[in-house]
């Protein structure tokens, strides 16, 4: 049986949507949870035969609402600080303006893997501790005998370097 188009779109744009939710929450666990809630809502729509074209802006709006619900719930539990509404608006606008296709997402992931290899051993280790072993900045700082501020700065520079490297590789690949 062929999957409904909304389901295919969802799988195609999974990373783009997850990235958008992550930008709204800055919490990957929460982003995954919200993504799954969003996915269920979209699959419900798919089951009801709904068509949504173009898919991504609509899906982002669904995700935005789910994120707002999440923020409200977290606020009631007093667990998290919600981002100002004005920032959520500008983040949504930023993603609207800079959409990427599923193919571009997959290419970016390949470029990222290659770019990680270009980092120095020390910085790569820091990225691994932060994103693979989920260590806090404080833990990384203690292990590396750095200050937390130094780790924050190193991670920020590493992300910027990776973003530049990925963009460069994407442009090079696009020029071929």
């Amino acid at each position: 049986m062929q999957q409904p188009k909304l389901t295919r779109d969802l799988l195609e744009h999974r990373q783009a949507l997850l990235g958008f939710i992550f930008a709204l929450t800055r919490d990957f666990d929460a982003a995954e949870e919200i993504f799954q809630e969003t996915a269920l809502a979209i699959l419900d729509e798919a089951g009801a035969g709904r068509q949504a074209e173009p898919f991504l802006p609509w899906a982002r709006e669904v995700a935005r609402r789910r994120t707002a619900e999440h923020h409200r719930a977290q606020s009631q539990k007093r667990r998290a600080i919600a981002m100002p509404e004005v920032l959520l608006d500008t983040i949504a606008r930023s993603f609207d303006e800079n959409e990427e296709s599923g193919e571009e997402s997959r290419s970016r992931q390949k470029h990222l893997a290659a770019c990680l290899e270009t980092l120095t051993e020390r910085v790569r280790r820091m990225i691994e501790l932060r994103y693979h072993q989920c260590q806090s900045v404080g833990e990384i700082a203690r292990d590396a005998r750095w200050t937390t501020d130094a780790v924050h700065v190193a991670l920020s520079r590493a992300r910027k370097a990776l973003a530049d490297c990925v963009l460069k590789r994407a442009n090079t690949a696009g020029a071929r």
Partner: protein, 435 residues
């Protein structure tokens, strides 16, 4: 918005360190620049990619992930089962969830237990609703638990909590509304630990042990940076201002908007805001509710009733009191009333010389007032019995103890113009403090 500022705000947003005000500022920057918006998206995609990269590695390393994902999917099915939901829709959803769960496996593999981060302060005196914040997560704060760099402390309305550092410095957070502070723990170039924190909002009271000159304690707010070498003070911050009130010692308050700084000594306060001149001012008593402070003019604007001319020629013109020394002598005018406890505010201008004096109790106690540049200057003096705190245009004045003075001059207020000079006084008011 400058590129450098955007980079700074973006980094703080990414690390979960940004205050609400900084996030709002980031939004403004994004609103103004398509390049910034493009970069925000690119950077978030990089991080999502890093998480995905991590998850992919975890899947490869842990064959049990699939089973865990399926367990999770079963658990989701129990959560989501609804008697009216068509079976095929639920089946579709579950199939998709399993697929999605396999792609997003970060939930399901165990993470090595994290070692506790190095504490830099210990929590004590926790009362009311107090939370420790790690990124965007909050946990209830407990007495005796440690706080590390990068972590924050939040007190709800009416709650209170203190942090004690190894050197005895204490920071107490409290307030009529939410107060939130974030700790940083860098070291200076010599490796000396450096106490730094950001007060997003609310009120803190600090008692700071002497700090190394090379690493003064630093507290940032949305509008200011406070540098402390050792003192006792209170700092309040809102989205539009910060107010520091110093009980003992001396701090430097710098307004981050324009870099202007002011030294604030014991008994003085300063406000950093876009709308208020940054100046050190004497702390005035807050009247009790129901007993408003009484403010009165020191001169009636017509004549010198209530004043005794001791030397020189004095007159009142257009509401301005003017005194001149005669024959190269000084001029002096003394109140007939006593001013024991209250606040004096007036505007002074001197010509022909660069100095005048405002005296309390005859020559017993006085503030020399200097004019580096000509023009009117605002004098504020807080009088509490034998304690005097004065500012001129917000800058602290040096109090001089004259050591002489008769008993009958106690409490009297005197304006003094030096020889060959003219002293003008206007808008002079006295506000009694209500005990």
């Amino acid at each position: 918005m400058e590129r450098e500022r955007f980079d700074d705000l973006l980094a703080r947003y990414e690390e979960g360190l940004a205050s609400c005000e900084e996030l709002a500022e980031l939004a403004t920057g994004l609103d103004l620049s398509a390049a910034f918006r493009r970069e925000l998206v690119a950077r978030n995609r990089i991080e999502t990619g890093l998480h995905e990269w991590s998850a992919t590695r975890a899947v490869a390393a842990r064959p049990s992930v699939r089973a865990a994902a399926e367990r999770h999917a079963r658990s989701r099915r129990r959560e989501l089962s609804h008697p009216r939901a068509p079976q095929w829709r639920m089946g579709l959803a579950l199939a998709a969830l399993i697929t999605l769960a396999l792609l997003g496996v970060r939930h399901f593999y165990s993470v090595e237990p994290a070692m506790p981060a190095l504490s830099i302060a210990t929590l004590e005196s926790v009362t009311g609703t107090v939370s420790v914040m790690r990124g965007s997560l909050r946990e209830p704060a407990r007495n005796g638990s440690g706080l590390s760099g990068g972590e924050g402390l939040l007190t709800e309305k009416g709650a209170r909590a203190s942090m004690r550092f190894a050197d005895g410095t204490t920071i107490a957070l409290s307030g009529d509304s939410v107060s939130r502070v974030w700790l940083r723990a860098p070291a200076n170039s010599a490796g000396t630990p450096w106490k730094q924190m950001t007060l997003d909002v609310g009120r803190l009271e600090a008692s700071v042990a002497p700090q190394p000159l090379s690493a003064p304690m630093i507290i940032n707010t949305a509008h200011s940076e406070i540098k402390i070498l050792g003192t006792q003070f209170t700092l309040e911050a809102t989205s539009s201002m910060a107010r520091v009130e110093v009980r003992e010692g001396r701090v430097q308050m710098k307004r981050t908007g324009d870099g202007k700084a002011v030294e604030v000594g014991g008994g003085f306060f300063a406000v950093a805001s876009r709308d208020v001149e940054l100046a050190s001012r004497p702390i005035t008593a807050v009247p009790f509710a129901g007993t408003p402070a009484v403010s009165r003019s020191l001169f009636n604007g017509r004549d010198l009733s209530g004043w005794n001319i001791l030397r020189g020629a004095w007159k009142v013109e257009n509401g301005v009191v003017t005194g001149n020394g005669l024959e190269g002598k000084f001029a002096r005018i003394e109140s007939t009333d006593s001013f024991i406890s209250g606040d004096l505010v007036c505007k002074l201008r001197v010509t022909g010389s660069r100095v005048a004096e405002v005296q309390f109790g005859g020559y017993r106690t006085f503030f020399p007032v200097h004019w580096e540049t000509p023009g009117w200057k605002e004098l504020q003096v807080r009088v509490r019995g034998t304690e005097f705190l004065g500012t001129l245009d917000g800058k602290p004045l040096q109090l001089v103890q004259g050591g002489s003075g008769d008993e009958h001059t106690l409490g009297l207020l005197t304006f003094y113009a030096t020889a060959h000079s003219t002293l003008e006084i206007k808008d002079a008011h006295w506000t009694d403090s209500k005990p």
